[in-house]
Amino acid sequence: MNGQQRPILVAEGIHKSFGNLHVLKGASLKVAPGEVVTLIGASGSGKSTFLRCMNLLETPQDGFLEINGRRFGFSQTGAPPRDRELVALRRDVGMVFQHFNLFPHMKVIDNIIEGPVQAKGIPIGEAREHALDLLSKVGLADKADVFPSKLSGGQKQRVAIARALAMKPDIMLFDEPTSALDPELVGEVLGVISDLARDGMTMILVTHEMGFAADVSTRVGFMNNGVMAEIGTPDEILHHPKNERLRSFLNRFHANR
Protein backbone atom coordinates (compact mmCIF):
# COMPACT_ATOMS: atom_id res chain seq x y z
CA MET A 1 0.00 0.00 0.00
CA ASN A 2 1.14 3.51 -0.67
CA GLY A 3 1.41 4.30 3.00
CA GLN A 4 -0.03 7.78 3.45
CA GLN A 5 -3.66 6.90 2.99
CA ARG A 6 -5.75 5.39 5.72
CA PRO A 7 -6.75 1.89 4.54
CA ILE A 8 -10.39 1.22 3.73
CA LEU A 9 -9.96 -2.46 4.52
CA VAL A 10 -7.67 -4.20 6.95
CA ALA A 11 -7.74 -7.96 7.39
CA GLU A 12 -5.16 -9.10 9.90
CA GLY A 13 -4.15 -12.61 10.89
CA ILE A 14 -7.34 -14.22 9.68
CA HIS A 15 -7.79 -17.87 10.60
CA LYS A 16 -10.60 -20.03 9.32
CA SER A 17 -11.17 -23.75 9.69
CA PHE A 18 -13.94 -25.97 8.39
CA GLY A 19 -14.06 -28.77 10.91
CA ASN A 20 -10.54 -30.17 10.95
CA LEU A 21 -9.52 -28.45 7.74
CA HIS A 22 -7.44 -25.39 8.60
CA VAL A 23 -7.91 -23.26 5.48
CA LEU A 24 -6.77 -19.74 6.42
CA LYS A 25 -3.68 -19.60 8.62
CA GLY A 26 -3.23 -15.96 9.41
CA ALA A 27 -4.03 -14.32 6.10
CA SER A 28 -3.61 -10.54 6.03
CA LEU A 29 -4.32 -7.72 3.61
CA LYS A 30 -4.56 -3.93 3.72
CA VAL A 31 -6.28 -2.03 0.96
CA ALA A 32 -6.24 1.73 0.37
CA PRO A 33 -9.26 3.53 -1.10
CA GLY A 34 -9.33 3.27 -4.88
CA GLU A 35 -6.99 0.31 -5.00
CA VAL A 36 -7.58 -2.75 -7.14
CA VAL A 37 -6.01 -5.79 -5.52
CA THR A 38 -5.95 -9.06 -7.42
CA LEU A 39 -5.55 -12.33 -5.56
CA ILE A 40 -3.96 -15.23 -7.37
CA GLY A 41 -2.95 -18.66 -6.16
CA ALA A 42 -3.50 -22.35 -6.70
CA SER A 43 -6.95 -23.82 -6.35
CA GLY A 44 -7.63 -24.65 -2.71
CA SER A 45 -5.15 -22.08 -1.36
CA GLY A 46 -7.98 -20.21 0.38
CA LYS A 47 -8.63 -17.26 -1.94
CA SER A 48 -12.41 -17.61 -1.94
CA THR A 49 -12.53 -18.25 1.77
CA PHE A 50 -10.43 -15.15 2.44
CA LEU A 51 -12.67 -13.06 0.21
CA ARG A 52 -15.78 -14.45 1.89
CA CYS A 53 -14.36 -13.52 5.29
CA MET A 54 -14.20 -9.91 4.14
CA ASN A 55 -17.98 -9.58 4.01
CA LEU A 56 -18.41 -12.15 6.76
CA LEU A 57 -20.13 -14.77 4.64
CA GLU A 58 -17.65 -16.85 6.62
CA THR A 59 -16.87 -15.97 10.22
CA PRO A 60 -13.16 -16.27 10.99
CA GLN A 61 -12.01 -17.91 14.20
CA ASP A 62 -9.11 -15.58 14.80
CA GLY A 63 -7.77 -12.24 13.63
CA PHE A 64 -9.57 -9.00 12.96
CA LEU A 65 -11.23 -7.18 10.15
CA GLU A 66 -11.75 -3.46 9.78
CA ILE A 67 -13.72 -2.06 6.90
CA ASN A 68 -14.40 1.63 6.66
CA GLY A 69 -14.10 2.04 10.40
CA ARG A 70 -16.26 -0.97 11.27
CA ARG A 71 -14.11 -3.26 13.33
CA PHE A 72 -14.64 -6.95 14.01
CA GLY A 73 -12.40 -9.02 16.24
CA PHE A 74 -12.60 -12.78 16.12
CA SER A 75 -11.63 -15.50 18.53
CA GLN A 76 -12.47 -19.14 19.04
CA THR A 77 -14.43 -18.37 22.18
CA GLY A 78 -15.83 -14.92 21.45
CA ALA A 79 -19.38 -14.31 20.34
CA PRO A 80 -19.91 -14.18 16.59
CA PRO A 81 -20.78 -10.75 15.17
CA ARG A 82 -24.34 -9.73 15.82
CA ASP A 83 -26.84 -9.94 13.00
CA ARG A 84 -27.32 -6.20 12.86
CA GLU A 85 -23.56 -5.63 12.49
CA LEU A 86 -23.27 -8.28 9.79
CA VAL A 87 -26.08 -6.75 7.81
CA ALA A 88 -24.64 -3.25 8.15
CA LEU A 89 -21.20 -4.40 6.98
CA ARG A 90 -22.58 -6.26 3.98
CA ARG A 91 -24.47 -3.19 2.83
CA ASP A 92 -21.10 -1.47 2.36
CA VAL A 93 -19.32 -4.39 0.72
CA GLY A 94 -20.51 -5.63 -2.68
CA MET A 95 -19.82 -9.17 -3.82
CA VAL A 96 -19.90 -10.77 -7.25
CA PHE A 97 -19.93 -14.56 -7.43
CA GLN A 98 -18.48 -16.96 -9.95
CA HIS A 99 -21.93 -18.37 -10.70
CA PHE A 100 -23.75 -15.00 -10.70
CA ASN A 101 -26.44 -16.18 -8.24
CA LEU A 102 -29.08 -13.94 -9.79
CA PHE A 103 -32.61 -14.40 -8.43
CA PRO A 104 -34.24 -16.42 -11.23
CA HIS A 105 -37.82 -15.57 -10.25
CA MET A 106 -37.26 -11.83 -10.57
CA LYS A 107 -36.80 -9.67 -13.61
CA VAL A 108 -33.41 -8.04 -14.10
CA ILE A 109 -34.61 -4.71 -12.72
CA ASP A 110 -36.11 -6.39 -9.65
CA ASN A 111 -32.88 -8.27 -9.02
CA ILE A 112 -31.10 -4.95 -8.89
CA ILE A 113 -33.53 -3.05 -6.67
CA GLU A 114 -34.03 -5.93 -4.23
CA GLY A 115 -31.11 -4.94 -2.01
CA PRO A 116 -31.67 -1.18 -1.97
CA VAL A 117 -35.40 -1.53 -1.36
CA GLN A 118 -35.47 -4.53 1.00
CA ALA A 119 -32.23 -4.09 2.89
CA LYS A 120 -31.78 -0.32 2.84
CA GLY A 121 -35.36 0.90 2.65
CA ILE A 122 -34.82 3.09 -0.43
CA PRO A 123 -38.11 4.09 -2.11
CA ILE A 124 -38.86 1.93 -5.15
CA GLY A 125 -38.98 4.84 -7.60
CA GLU A 126 -35.58 6.09 -6.61
CA ALA A 127 -34.11 2.57 -6.61
CA ARG A 128 -35.47 1.91 -10.11
CA GLU A 129 -33.97 5.10 -11.45
CA HIS A 130 -30.58 4.21 -10.04
CA ALA A 131 -30.93 0.64 -11.31
CA LEU A 132 -31.64 1.84 -14.85
CA ASP A 133 -28.55 4.06 -14.70
CA LEU A 134 -26.48 1.11 -13.60
CA LEU A 135 -27.94 -1.08 -16.32
CA SER A 136 -26.89 1.37 -19.00
CA LYS A 137 -23.50 1.61 -17.36
CA VAL A 138 -23.03 -2.14 -17.80
CA GLY A 139 -24.52 -1.95 -21.31
CA LEU A 140 -27.82 -3.69 -20.60
CA ALA A 141 -30.31 -0.83 -20.59
CA ASP A 142 -32.66 -2.84 -22.81
CA LYS A 143 -32.75 -5.89 -20.52
CA ALA A 144 -34.49 -4.37 -17.49
CA ASP A 145 -37.69 -6.34 -17.95
CA VAL A 146 -36.41 -9.75 -18.93
CA PHE A 147 -35.83 -12.71 -16.65
CA PRO A 148 -32.23 -13.79 -16.02
CA SER A 149 -32.77 -17.08 -17.84
CA LYS A 150 -33.03 -15.12 -21.08
CA LEU A 151 -29.50 -13.71 -20.69
CA SER A 152 -26.09 -15.01 -21.73
CA GLY A 153 -23.54 -15.75 -19.01
CA GLY A 154 -21.71 -12.50 -19.68
CA GLN A 155 -24.94 -10.55 -19.45
CA LYS A 156 -25.89 -12.32 -16.22
CA GLN A 157 -22.57 -11.42 -14.66
CA ARG A 158 -22.98 -7.78 -15.71
CA VAL A 159 -26.42 -7.75 -14.07
CA ALA A 160 -24.85 -9.27 -10.95
CA ILE A 161 -22.30 -6.46 -10.94
CA ALA A 162 -25.08 -3.89 -11.28
CA ARG A 163 -26.95 -5.58 -8.43
CA ALA A 164 -23.91 -5.25 -6.17
CA LEU A 165 -23.30 -1.64 -7.24
CA ALA A 166 -26.91 -0.73 -6.49
CA MET A 167 -26.06 -0.88 -2.79
CA LYS A 168 -23.52 1.91 -3.40
CA PRO A 169 -20.78 -0.15 -1.76
CA ASP A 170 -17.46 1.29 -0.63
CA ILE A 171 -15.64 -1.77 -1.81
CA MET A 172 -16.38 -4.59 -4.26
CA LEU A 173 -15.28 -8.22 -3.99
CA PHE A 174 -15.16 -10.42 -7.10
CA ASP A 175 -14.65 -14.17 -6.81
CA GLU A 176 -13.52 -15.47 -10.20
CA PRO A 177 -16.16 -13.42 -12.01
CA THR A 178 -15.26 -14.81 -15.45
CA SER A 179 -14.42 -18.42 -14.63
CA ALA A 180 -17.88 -19.74 -15.46
CA LEU A 181 -18.09 -17.89 -18.78
CA ASP A 182 -17.49 -19.06 -22.33
CA PRO A 183 -14.20 -17.53 -23.50
CA GLU A 184 -15.88 -15.15 -25.94
CA LEU A 185 -17.95 -13.62 -23.11
CA VAL A 186 -15.06 -12.95 -20.74
CA GLY A 187 -14.10 -9.65 -22.38
CA GLU A 188 -17.41 -7.88 -21.81
CA VAL A 189 -17.30 -8.60 -18.08
CA LEU A 190 -13.65 -7.62 -17.70
CA GLY A 191 -14.52 -4.44 -19.60
CA VAL A 192 -17.12 -3.50 -17.00
CA ILE A 193 -14.68 -4.24 -14.18
CA SER A 194 -12.02 -2.07 -15.86
CA ASP A 195 -14.54 0.77 -16.10
CA LEU A 196 -15.17 0.47 -12.38
CA ALA A 197 -11.44 0.56 -11.69
CA ARG A 198 -11.14 3.69 -13.77
CA ASP A 199 -13.99 5.29 -11.81
CA GLY A 200 -11.99 4.71 -8.63
CA MET A 201 -13.96 1.83 -7.12
CA THR A 202 -11.97 -0.07 -4.51
CA MET A 203 -11.89 -3.72 -5.53
CA ILE A 204 -10.46 -7.03 -4.49
CA LEU A 205 -10.71 -9.71 -7.08
CA VAL A 206 -9.77 -13.32 -7.37
CA THR A 207 -8.96 -14.18 -10.96
CA HIS A 208 -6.94 -16.38 -13.25
CA GLU A 209 -6.83 -13.69 -15.95
CA MET A 210 -3.17 -12.72 -15.51
CA GLY A 211 -3.12 -10.20 -18.35
CA PHE A 212 -6.13 -8.45 -16.88
CA ALA A 213 -4.58 -8.54 -13.42
CA ALA A 214 -1.45 -6.88 -14.80
CA ASP A 215 -3.51 -4.16 -16.51
CA VAL A 216 -5.96 -3.09 -13.82
CA SER A 217 -4.37 -4.01 -10.49
CA THR A 218 -2.54 -1.62 -8.24
CA ARG A 219 -1.25 -4.71 -6.45
CA VAL A 220 -1.31 -8.45 -6.87
CA GLY A 221 -1.31 -10.83 -3.93
CA PHE A 222 -0.25 -14.45 -4.12
CA MET A 223 -2.00 -16.75 -1.69
CA ASN A 224 -0.46 -20.04 -0.75
CA ASN A 225 -1.57 -22.52 1.86
CA GLY A 226 -3.86 -20.10 3.67
CA VAL A 227 -1.57 -17.08 3.89
CA MET A 228 -0.65 -14.09 1.74
CA ALA A 229 2.70 -15.45 0.62
CA GLU A 230 3.76 -12.46 -1.44
CA ILE A 231 2.17 -9.17 -2.41
CA GLY A 232 3.39 -6.28 -4.54
CA THR A 233 2.91 -4.42 -7.79
CA PRO A 234 1.83 -6.46 -10.79
CA ASP A 235 5.32 -6.15 -12.20
CA GLU A 236 6.94 -7.37 -8.99
CA ILE A 237 4.64 -10.31 -8.59
CA LEU A 238 4.13 -11.42 -12.16
CA HIS A 239 7.56 -10.65 -13.58
CA HIS A 240 9.96 -10.65 -10.64
CA PRO A 241 8.52 -13.16 -8.19
CA LYS A 242 10.64 -13.90 -5.13
CA ASN A 243 8.60 -16.64 -3.52
CA GLU A 244 9.55 -20.09 -4.79
CA ARG A 245 5.93 -21.27 -4.76
CA LEU A 246 4.85 -18.22 -6.70
CA ARG A 247 7.50 -18.91 -9.33
CA SER A 248 6.40 -22.45 -9.87
CA PHE A 249 2.73 -21.34 -9.84
CA LEU A 250 3.45 -18.83 -12.61
CA ASN A 251 5.52 -21.35 -14.58
CA ARG A 252 2.78 -23.93 -14.38
CA PHE A 253 0.29 -21.25 -15.30
CA HIS A 254 2.19 -20.15 -18.40
CA ALA A 255 2.90 -23.73 -19.42
CA ASN A 256 -0.82 -24.46 -19.44
CA ARG A 257 -1.68 -21.55 -21.69
Binding site: R91, N101, P104, G115, Q118
Partner: protein, 220 residues
Protein backbone atom coordinates in the same frame (compact mmCIF):
# COMPACT_ATOMS: atom_id res chain seq x y z
CA UNK B 1 -78.26 -56.92 -18.36
CA UNK B 2 -78.64 -54.58 -15.39
CA UNK B 3 -81.30 -51.94 -15.95
CA UNK B 4 -80.06 -48.63 -14.54
CA UNK B 5 -82.56 -46.49 -12.72
CA UNK B 6 -81.09 -43.24 -11.53
CA UNK B 7 -84.55 -41.84 -10.85
CA UNK B 8 -84.57 -44.05 -7.76
CA UNK B 9 -82.07 -41.62 -6.27
CA UNK B 10 -84.52 -38.75 -6.64
CA UNK B 11 -85.43 -38.46 -2.95
CA UNK B 12 -81.80 -38.62 -1.85
CA UNK B 13 -80.12 -35.80 -3.79
CA UNK B 14 -80.25 -33.59 -0.73
CA UNK B 15 -78.23 -36.15 1.22
CA UNK B 16 -75.77 -36.52 -1.64
CA UNK B 17 -75.08 -32.78 -1.90
CA UNK B 18 -74.81 -32.69 1.84
CA UNK B 19 -72.19 -35.42 1.79
CA UNK B 20 -70.28 -33.75 -1.00
CA UNK B 21 -70.28 -30.50 0.98
CA UNK B 22 -68.90 -32.31 4.02
CA UNK B 23 -66.18 -33.93 1.93
CA UNK B 24 -65.14 -30.63 0.37
CA UNK B 25 -65.15 -28.79 3.70
CA UNK B 26 -63.12 -31.52 5.41
CA UNK B 27 -60.66 -31.34 2.57
CA UNK B 28 -60.32 -27.55 2.61
CA UNK B 29 -59.99 -27.29 6.37
CA UNK B 30 -57.56 -30.18 6.80
CA UNK B 31 -55.50 -29.10 3.80
CA UNK B 32 -55.19 -25.61 5.29
CA UNK B 33 -54.33 -26.95 8.76
CA UNK B 34 -52.03 -29.58 7.28
CA UNK B 35 -50.22 -27.02 5.12
CA UNK B 36 -49.71 -24.79 8.16
CA UNK B 37 -48.38 -27.72 10.20
CA UNK B 38 -46.24 -28.84 7.28
CA UNK B 39 -44.75 -25.40 6.71
CA UNK B 40 -43.85 -24.99 10.37
CA UNK B 41 -42.48 -28.52 10.77
CA UNK B 42 -40.68 -28.39 7.43
CA UNK B 43 -38.98 -25.10 8.27
CA UNK B 44 -38.20 -26.10 11.86
CA UNK B 45 -36.47 -29.24 10.66
CA UNK B 46 -34.13 -27.22 8.43
CA UNK B 47 -32.00 -26.17 11.38
CA UNK B 48 -33.53 -27.76 14.43
CA UNK B 49 -31.61 -28.94 17.45
CA UNK B 50 -31.03 -32.67 17.39
CA UNK B 51 -33.72 -33.61 19.90
CA UNK B 52 -36.32 -31.51 18.11
CA UNK B 53 -35.36 -32.94 14.77
CA UNK B 54 -35.77 -36.47 16.11
CA UNK B 55 -39.17 -35.57 17.54
CA UNK B 56 -40.43 -34.02 14.32
CA UNK B 57 -39.00 -36.84 12.25
CA UNK B 58 -40.80 -39.33 14.50
CA UNK B 59 -44.09 -37.52 13.97
CA UNK B 60 -43.60 -37.51 10.21
CA UNK B 61 -42.65 -41.17 9.98
CA UNK B 62 -45.46 -42.36 12.24
CA UNK B 63 -48.03 -40.68 10.05
CA UNK B 64 -46.39 -41.62 6.78
CA UNK B 65 -45.80 -45.24 7.69
CA UNK B 66 -49.18 -46.26 9.10
CA UNK B 67 -52.41 -46.43 7.10
CA UNK B 68 -54.64 -43.42 7.49
CA UNK B 69 -57.55 -45.72 8.27
CA UNK B 70 -55.66 -47.16 11.23
CA UNK B 71 -54.76 -43.65 12.41
CA UNK B 72 -58.40 -42.55 12.25
CA UNK B 73 -59.68 -45.53 14.15
CA UNK B 74 -56.87 -45.24 16.70
CA UNK B 75 -57.45 -41.55 17.35
CA UNK B 76 -61.21 -42.06 17.59
CA UNK B 77 -61.32 -45.20 19.72
CA UNK B 78 -57.94 -45.52 21.47
CA UNK B 79 -56.74 -41.98 22.11
CA UNK B 80 -59.79 -40.93 24.19
CA UNK B 81 -59.24 -43.93 26.46
CA UNK B 82 -55.57 -43.01 26.91
CA UNK B 83 -56.05 -39.31 27.63
CA UNK B 84 -59.47 -39.66 29.21
CA UNK B 85 -61.12 -37.08 26.98
CA UNK B 86 -64.13 -37.81 24.86
CA UNK B 87 -63.79 -36.78 21.29
CA UNK B 88 -66.48 -36.42 18.67
CA UNK B 89 -65.95 -38.28 15.44
CA UNK B 90 -65.69 -34.94 13.65
CA UNK B 91 -62.90 -33.76 15.94
CA UNK B 92 -61.01 -37.02 15.68
CA UNK B 93 -61.22 -36.87 11.90
CA UNK B 94 -60.11 -33.26 11.79
CA UNK B 95 -57.09 -33.92 13.98
CA UNK B 96 -56.05 -37.07 12.18
CA UNK B 97 -56.48 -35.75 8.65
CA UNK B 98 -54.65 -32.52 9.50
CA UNK B 99 -51.71 -34.30 11.10
CA UNK B 100 -51.63 -36.81 8.27
CA UNK B 101 -51.56 -34.06 5.64
CA UNK B 102 -49.05 -32.12 7.75
CA UNK B 103 -46.59 -34.99 7.76
CA UNK B 104 -46.58 -35.17 3.98
CA UNK B 105 -46.58 -31.40 3.44
CA UNK B 106 -43.64 -31.06 5.87
CA UNK B 107 -41.50 -33.28 3.68
CA UNK B 108 -42.62 -31.49 0.54
CA UNK B 109 -41.80 -28.07 2.00
CA UNK B 110 -38.48 -29.22 3.37
CA UNK B 111 -37.49 -30.81 0.08
CA UNK B 112 -38.54 -27.75 -1.89
CA UNK B 113 -36.57 -25.39 0.33
CA UNK B 114 -33.48 -27.59 0.24
CA UNK B 115 -33.73 -27.79 -3.54
CA UNK B 116 -33.05 -24.05 -3.85
CA UNK B 117 -29.38 -23.43 -4.65
CA UNK B 118 -27.53 -22.23 -1.57
CA UNK B 119 -25.96 -19.51 -3.71
CA UNK B 120 -29.36 -17.82 -3.48
CA UNK B 121 -28.99 -17.48 0.30
CA UNK B 122 -25.49 -16.10 -0.19
CA UNK B 123 -26.58 -13.58 -2.79
CA UNK B 124 -29.25 -12.35 -0.39
CA UNK B 125 -26.81 -12.15 2.50
CA UNK B 126 -24.26 -10.35 0.31
CA UNK B 127 -26.69 -7.50 -0.32
CA UNK B 128 -27.38 -7.11 3.37
CA UNK B 129 -30.76 -8.82 3.59
CA UNK B 130 -31.81 -10.46 6.83
CA UNK B 131 -32.49 -14.18 7.07
CA UNK B 132 -36.26 -13.90 7.32
CA UNK B 133 -36.49 -11.63 4.34
CA UNK B 134 -34.21 -13.79 2.23
CA UNK B 135 -36.37 -16.75 3.11
CA UNK B 136 -39.65 -15.07 2.27
CA UNK B 137 -38.62 -13.15 -0.82
CA UNK B 138 -35.87 -15.25 -2.40
CA UNK B 139 -36.04 -18.84 -1.19
CA UNK B 140 -39.72 -19.58 -0.61
CA UNK B 141 -40.96 -18.36 -4.02
CA UNK B 142 -38.45 -20.63 -5.74
CA UNK B 143 -39.17 -23.52 -3.40
CA UNK B 144 -42.90 -23.23 -4.06
CA UNK B 145 -42.29 -23.58 -7.78
CA UNK B 146 -40.51 -26.85 -7.19
CA UNK B 147 -43.22 -27.99 -4.80
CA UNK B 148 -46.36 -27.11 -6.77
CA UNK B 149 -46.80 -30.48 -8.48
CA UNK B 150 -46.31 -32.44 -5.25
CA UNK B 151 -48.52 -30.04 -3.30
CA UNK B 152 -51.38 -30.45 -5.76
CA UNK B 153 -50.87 -34.17 -5.83
CA UNK B 154 -51.02 -34.40 -2.07
CA UNK B 155 -54.13 -32.23 -2.01
CA UNK B 156 -55.89 -34.46 -4.51
CA UNK B 157 -54.97 -37.46 -2.37
CA UNK B 158 -56.26 -35.66 0.69
CA UNK B 159 -59.69 -35.19 -0.86
CA UNK B 160 -59.83 -38.87 -1.74
CA UNK B 161 -58.62 -39.80 1.72
CA UNK B 162 -61.46 -37.96 3.40
CA UNK B 163 -63.66 -40.82 2.24
CA UNK B 164 -62.19 -42.81 5.12
CA UNK B 165 -64.01 -40.67 7.68
CA UNK B 166 -67.19 -42.55 6.78
CA UNK B 167 -65.76 -45.41 8.82
CA UNK B 168 -66.29 -43.48 12.04
CA UNK B 169 -69.71 -42.32 10.85
CA UNK B 170 -68.89 -38.81 9.76
CA UNK B 171 -71.46 -38.07 7.09
CA UNK B 172 -69.26 -37.37 4.11
CA UNK B 173 -70.09 -38.25 0.52
CA UNK B 174 -69.20 -41.93 0.86
CA UNK B 175 -71.07 -42.29 4.17
CA UNK B 176 -74.24 -40.80 2.66
CA UNK B 177 -73.78 -43.27 -0.16
CA UNK B 178 -73.99 -46.19 2.23
CA UNK B 179 -76.99 -44.65 3.96
CA UNK B 180 -78.79 -44.18 0.68
CA UNK B 181 -77.86 -47.65 -0.50
CA UNK B 182 -79.38 -49.14 2.62
CA UNK B 183 -82.59 -47.21 2.01
CA UNK B 184 -82.90 -47.55 -1.76
CA UNK B 185 -81.26 -50.91 -2.53
CA UNK B 186 -79.59 -49.25 -5.51
CA UNK B 187 -75.84 -49.65 -4.81
CA UNK B 188 -74.80 -49.47 -8.47
CA UNK B 189 -76.53 -46.17 -9.12
CA UNK B 190 -75.48 -44.73 -5.79
CA UNK B 191 -71.79 -45.61 -5.99
CA UNK B 192 -71.60 -44.67 -9.65
CA UNK B 193 -72.96 -41.22 -8.86
CA UNK B 194 -70.51 -40.90 -6.01
CA UNK B 195 -67.53 -41.89 -8.13
CA UNK B 196 -68.60 -39.40 -10.80
CA UNK B 197 -68.88 -36.65 -8.20
CA UNK B 198 -65.39 -37.29 -6.83
CA UNK B 199 -64.09 -37.25 -10.37
CA UNK B 200 -65.97 -34.07 -11.23
CA UNK B 201 -64.32 -32.25 -8.34
CA UNK B 202 -60.82 -33.60 -8.77
CA UNK B 203 -60.37 -33.59 -12.51
CA UNK B 204 -60.70 -29.80 -12.82
CA UNK B 205 -58.30 -29.45 -9.91
CA UNK B 206 -55.63 -31.40 -11.77
CA UNK B 207 -56.25 -29.28 -14.87
CA UNK B 208 -55.80 -26.12 -12.82
CA UNK B 209 -52.64 -27.62 -11.36
CA UNK B 210 -51.20 -28.21 -14.82
CA UNK B 211 -52.04 -24.65 -15.78
CA UNK B 212 -50.36 -23.19 -12.69
CA UNK B 213 -47.32 -25.35 -13.19
CA UNK B 214 -46.98 -24.19 -16.79
CA UNK B 215 -47.44 -20.54 -15.87
CA UNK B 216 -45.01 -20.59 -12.96
CA UNK B 217 -42.37 -22.22 -15.11
CA UNK B 218 -42.75 -19.48 -17.73
CA UNK B 219 -39.50 -17.71 -16.85
CA UNK B 220 -37.47 -20.89 -16.61
Amino acid sequence: MYSWDFSALQPYWGLIWNGLGTTVIYTLVTVAAGAAIGLVVGILRLNAARWLDILLRAYIEVFRCTPLLVQLVWVYYALPVLIGVDMSAATACFITLSLYAGSFYAEIFRGGILAVDKGQWEAGRAIGMRRGKIFRRIILPQAVQVMIPSLINQTVLQLKNTSLVSVVAVSDLLYQGSVITAASYRPLEVYTVIAVLYFAVLFPLTLVADRIEARMGAHK
